[in-house]
């Protein structure tokens, strides 16, 4: 039990440092990579939904540290996005192929971006009582495209890495029983 707690703590520590201090210091577009999203996809596919949701909350706290939007809003973005994805995953996805993972990754990224934008607009409106000049959609679009490309590469590499280390992704079809 203690070994497991230490393992999880070390994992969270590495992920936190990577996301808050390492990646943002890199050059564009690498500094746009959000590793929480592909990691959550792996948790969803490899473990149960409750594990994914708990990690989503923990990652939200990490993201809230590097966010200027109030905690009350920023902490909700990732759990909300992952809840929508879990619904879709349970209803429509039947296998754990690389294509499924890539598609799930893009979906989560899209939900995350939409919810994040909505929350930012709410905060902006709350502060300035207007939506004028709130966001630059071309910048958001560019950022989204780069995030999609980079996190897909991350999923692709991680998929083969996980496959090499364990056989958990080798099951082609999910056991529906």
């Amino acid at each position: 039990m203690i070994a497991k707690i230490i393992k999880v703590a070390v994992f969270l520590f590495i992920v936190f440092i990577m996301q808050v201090s390492f990646l943002p210091g890199l050059f564009y577009p690498l500094n746009k990579l959000n590793i929480f999203i592909p990691l959550l996809i792996f948790f969803l596919v490899l473990y149960k939904e409750n594990v994914t949701m708990i990690y989503a909350v923990v990652f939200s706290v990490f993201l809230a540290i590097s966010s200027s939007v109030p905690l009350v809003l920023s902490i909700l973005v990732l759990p909300l996005a992952i809840s929508v994805l879990i619904k879709i995953y349970n209803r429509f996805f039947t296998n754990k192929s690389i294509y499924s993972l890539l598609f799930l990754n893009l979906l989560l990224l899209l939900f995350y971006q939409i919810i994040n934008t909505i929350f930012f607009l709410i905060y902006y409106f709350y502060t300035y009582k207007t939506f004028t000049a709130a966001v630059n959609f071309s910048s958001i679009f560019n950022s989204f495209i780069w995030q999609a490309v980079l996190s897909s590469i991350f999923v692709f590499i991680a998929f083969f890495f996980v496959n090499y280390l364990s056989n958990r992704l080798k099951t082609v079809f999910i056991d529906a029983t």
Binding site: L23, P24, L26, N31, N34, N50, M53, S67, Y124
Partner: protein, 272 residues
């Protein structure tokens, strides 16, 4: 059975989120946050420096490829520089301004606290950095943050060991500024989605030209007058409008900030 499981997960998540929010805003989590930031700060500092070195390596490699092109471009610029000799008067004014900047801190007795950048915002809405100095080092909200005496932002959130700086190019940033023109125009400098800087609400009858210096106006509590921000890059003047808009070019590359100074200002020094 399925409903019970889903309900359980949702309940756990909602309770966790509510607990975190309540404990954060009531300050119960403050000691935990302080211990965590004290432990993580040196590691974040090292990791951020490491990524900075990777960044520098990348830009060095990139710049080597561009050297040949830049060499050619520089030769052209050298020829153009000869033209600037005829603008001696303007250069003299610049020189005088820079001298004022150099003696600014010593004359006004402003205390500059050097801080390392240990984190940075990532998404496309926000532009801020996290510093390794906080309440313990006397940092307070609203203090101006500079690099080589050029303002880059203001402290907007302070914890015991760290603080966050909202960069002046962030959409939410507001800074009272003054233009060094004949009218000493004042205005509010705002960010343009992290891409640039803009001054709004400048009356149309005040003449602003490209190259005019922009400094802080001193109308804010913790930001002294006279801190350099940048130069006017472009002015949008529309006939019949009440106000004009000016765009400002900062000499600082906001993507390459590693070390900054936080200006600790006393009320006396602000009035000087």
């Amino acid at each position: 059975m399925q409903i019970t499981k889903v309900t359980k997960i949702v309940a756990i998540v909602i309770i966790s989120i509510v607990l975190i929010i309540v404990l954060h805003y009531t300050g119960v989590l403050r000691p935990v946050e302080n211990v965590l930031s004290a432990v993580l700060r040196p590691i974040q500092n090292k990791v951020f420096n490491l990524s900075g070195r990777i960044n520098d390596f990348y830009y060095n490699q990139k710049s080597q490829k561009e050297l040949a092109y830049e060499n050619h471009k520089l030769k052209e610029e050298l020829a153009a520089m000869q033209y600037t000799e005829s603008r001696l008067k303007e250069l003299e004014q610049q020189n005088e301004f820079l001298r004022e900047q150099v003696s600014f801190f010593s004359e006004r007795n402003i205390n500059g606290i050097v801080a390392n950048v240990i984190g940075r915002s990532q998404d496309s809405f926000q532009n801020f950095i996290i510093l390794d100095k906080g309440e313990k080092q006397g940092i307070k909200e609203g203090y101006a943050v500079t690099i080589q005496d050029v303002v880059i932002g203001k402290i907007y959130d302070v914890s015991k060991y760290t603080s966050r700086v909202l960069l002046i190019n962030d959409t939410f940033s507001k800074l009272a500024v003054s233009v060094q023109n004949k009218d000493y125009s004042i205005g509010i400098l705002t960010g343009e989605y992290g891409l640039g800087l803009r001054i709004d609400l400048i009356p149309q009858n005040e003449k602003i030209s490209e190259g005019d210096y922009v400094i802080t106006s001193g109308l804010e509590e913790n930001v002294p007058r006279g801190l350099y921000i940048g130069q006017i890059d472009n002015v949008i003047y529309t006939e019949g409008e009440l106000f004009q808009t000016a765009f400002v070019k900062s000499p600082i590359d906001f993507n390459k900030i590693n070390l900054v100074s936080i200006l600790q200002v006393s009320y006396d020094s602000q009035n000087n």
